[in-house]
Amino acid sequence: MKAKLLGQKRVWLLVFPFVFVGIVGARADIRLGENFSMTGFVRHELGVHTASRNPNNDQDDNNSINLSRTFFQTEWTYMPSDMLKVFAKARLIHDQTEQLDDELKDYDAFPLSTPRYGSNLRANNDDDFAAELWELYAEVDTGDLWLRLGKQQIVWGEMIGTRIMDIINPLDMSWNLLFEPEEFENIRIPQWAVRAIYNVEQTAIPWLMDISLEGFINPGDISPTVYPDYGAPFNLFPQFPPFLAFNDKDRRGDEEFGFRAGARIGNFYGTLNYMHLFTDDYLLDFTGVSFGGPFGFMINMDAEYPTLDIFGLTINYATPSPLNTVVTLEGTYSPNQPYQDANAPLMMGDPIARIKDEATFNWAIRFDRNTFVLPRPTSAMRIQLQFSQAVVKNHEDVLGQNNSKIDSTTDTIVLMLAQPLRHDTLEPSLQVVYDLDGAYLIKPAVRYRYGNRWFFDLFGIGVGGSEDRPGRFGAMDWADEIVGRATFQF
């Protein structure tokens, strides 16, 4: 019965593109009324696995497909006046990966669909199909005050390939990790929150311009990072031994909030930020040993999401012609970043799970420049070069994922190149993330736009290197893939 239903859903998603290709004319949005419009896209994405077998999964042989998904996404906007806008982003997604590759064993392609986090507005809880309202919010603009209320993404920060200030929403990494061309847009999990921005009038202090105050409050819609299910092509964790028992102490119902002030002085623009959050990834806290289970005993641990207080700063500056380079600096300081305690008592040769806070400083600097590399009249190449660093104060006292050692500093360089060609119909790009401890992520890509409706992406992911501690690129050398996407937008 289930297979039959799933089969029907697949048919829908094959039919939708043809229906929309047929009905969409030359206009931009589809007008459903004077103030009501709809737009969206149909997309199919196929990721071919090009590396060795994922060691975290129990597979007999290597899988050849990492991802096969069809998306039907619609965006609905109701805007009766400049003061009010209601927006909804609805998604139907069908995942065929498991059906197409016999080497993959059963897994849940949509682990976000858990009853615990039911307010994600997923109407169903299937392993290979999701129908959801991804975003749903109302905006009210009263002039100097702007409010957005509802399920939304809130992004503070400006860096690429790394999340220093952009940590308000958790990520859904369950289907393509961090490899999508849009980075976090399609995987940043929208949460119910109120966001407000207040523009301060430009009169009191003439040399201080573009002054704004901003804040958000999430009254309790807290969900953690969602990782791939065990058995999924991108599963990051081996199966836990059966004598470990976890008690998930999620933060659902607790409040997160933050505020910031921004202003421009001359050609410098900056913000001062504070955020009160909870970690998106759990940390383990040993609570005791009990009898039972297949081995006769169970090691019990709480999976906790401790509080984070983040103090942040952003500054950017645009050097004028002929340099035409934008310099962006972003940093956060957290006095209470939680880690596993390296000095906890030992059990079976490893420290027992205890949580210890340690002061941590994350910062990055980026240089952006549009530069003519090819003979004109092509567009300029967009060049972005970024250095980021994480500094942990007493790094020897704490441990990372799977009790891995933490360095005093972790340094990363990101280079991003993009060269639009042929009136922006063709755009090759290259992103290289290099971990100075000896690991890398390389992402060459090309986008081809055909007319107003179609665009096609082809990109590759190469990860590897000698730095193979958990969470570093060298530990993911099994994840290489080549991905193709065909998108019809309407």
Binding site: E158, N199, T325, R376, H423, T487
Partner: protein, 440 residues
């Protein structure tokens, strides 16, 4: 004998009457000069006057007869006709139907009080005093004064384009791509119609604030740029921020990468509104005032409907390359602009409207852009014709501007509807908050 001299006198008077009522009969030298037209001493001649009656209102000009009017076309326009542009001889309007009364009054009120520094920044009577509005140099003496008129002779105080549809046209005239965007402007200085007039308190250093947001296609929808331009843009360079919906981030951008193209189209950022970068980047030379044919101020039929779609009655030549519309004679200043530093262009030759035939926007009406080998590369033609009256004041705007890359045989057309002085935008209406609000 007395009767004889009376007859001779009457004969001479009759001859003079015919000559002055038909200046073309005087074949060239007797035509009123552009200076006389600008000074109000003579009416603007028609193309019939200029061609000794060989070309008349309503005639179609194409490559078979373009030589008749070659002397009144820019080099780029002439090249377009040779490549298939066909235009109809249209109608000019009297200046009082082109220029709003408040702007004429501001120009009269402030006449003779404009001074200018070496970068083309205009002040009122003394350096540092902000220009209150109106045309600074109704009779310009130099190329820089001609250009300064465009920058400081802004007719409007706020502007909305909704949408600007950028049509990409290939060599066969096919429109193969389209990008739509909305644009908002508010001027903080030189205000002549929407209160507060002159300068807005607190914003004296800012010339204008601008917001551009892409509305189509979905892939780019919500991409926006918020720009601040300063009164003295040679000393204080533009400030720019962009919102990228694909990343949901507002980032700082360089607003001075003038030589990059706009969204993949043929014009570069320095070509916006004719010459968009600081005038200190260019050496201007006034070549001569001329009578020039370019699109008429008021099209007999709207080229766009109220939603910004091209009217189905508009005829095109060479696929969708050249709309067939009315062109008429304008008094213009021919100005050469040579870049002071390394540039993709060797020079630009601009045709700038002369007072009092001063349209409400885009007074750099025609521009020919030459490559570094001084070969004609691109041509820009502002397709006027969108004329309307709002609150009793006439506004003369454009329906479309095209930039034609003659070397690559590729064209970008910017179709737009323009609201002037209708929305009363304040500086605080165009901010980073607006940028975020307009995004996705």
């Amino acid at each position: 004998m007395k009767h004889f001299w009376t007859r001779i006198g009457l004969g001479l008077l009759t001859a003079l009457f015919f000559v002055f009522s038909h200046p073309a009969a005087m074949a060239g030298t007797e035509l009123p000069s552009v200076e006389d037209v600008v000074g109000g001493k003579a009416p603007l001649p028609t193309i019939e006057d200029l061609t000794s009656g060989k070309v008349k209102k309503g005639d179609l000009i194409d490559k078979s007869n373009v030589e008749l009017v070659k002397g009144y076309l820019s080099v780029g326009s002439y090249e377009c006709v040779k490549r298939g542009l066909v235009f109809r001889i249209g109608t000019q309007l009297p200046p009082e139907q082109i220029v709003p009364k408040y702007f004429i009054e501001a120009t009269k009120r402030n006449r003779g009080k404009a001074i200018m520094d070496e970068n083309g920044t205009v002040y009122y009577n003394k350096a540092g005093a902000l220009w209150p509005g109106g045309l600074p140099f109704p009779i310009p003496k130099t190329g820089l004064e001609v250009a300064a008129n465009v920058k400081f002779g802004t007719v409007w105080d706020d502007l909305r384009n909704y949408p600007v549809s950028i049509m990409f046209i290939d060599s066969k005239g096919r429109n193969y791509k389209r990008v739509d965007q909305n644009m908002l402007f508010t001027y903080c200085n030189t205000r002549t119609q929407v209160p507060p007039l002159g300068s807005i308190p607190g914003y004296e250093k800012i010339m204008f604030k601008r917001l551009i947001v892409i509305t189509f296609p979905l892939e780019l929808k919500g991409v926006g740029q918020y720009t601040v331009r300063y009164y003295d843009d040679a000393k204080n360079y533009d400030t720019g921020f962009a919102y990228l919906p694909a990343f949901k981030r507002t980032i700082r951008v360089s607003a001075t990468t003038w030589q990059d193209n706009i969204a993949g189209s043929d014009p570069t950022y320095q070509d916006g509104q004719g010459i968009s970068d600081p005038y200190s980047n260019w050496d201007f030379r006034l070549i001569e005032p001329r009578y020039i044919l370019m699109p008429e101020p008021k099209s007999p039929v709207p080229l766009l409907d109220e939603k910004g779609e091209i009217n189905g009655n508009v005829q095109f030549n060479v696929g969708r390359k050249f709309p067939r519309i009315g062109w008429t004679v304008w008094p213009m200043y021919m100005v050469e602009a040579v870049p002071r530093a390394k540039n993709i262009y060797g020079k630009k030759v601009a045709y700038v409207n002369a007072w009092p035939y001063w349209p409400s926007i885009l007074q750099f009406g025609l521009i020919d852009m030459y490559d570094r080998q001084m070969k004609l590369w691109k041509t820009y033609i502002s397709h006027r014709g969108n004329h309307y009256v709002h609150n009793g004041e006439p506004y003369t705007t454009s329906y479309m501007n095209l930039v034609y890359d003659l070397q690559a045989d590729h064209m970008s057309q910017f179709w737009m509807l323009t609201d002037l002085n209708r929305h009363g935008y304040k500086p605080q209406d165009i901010t980073m908050k607006t940028l975020l609000k307009a995004g996705r």
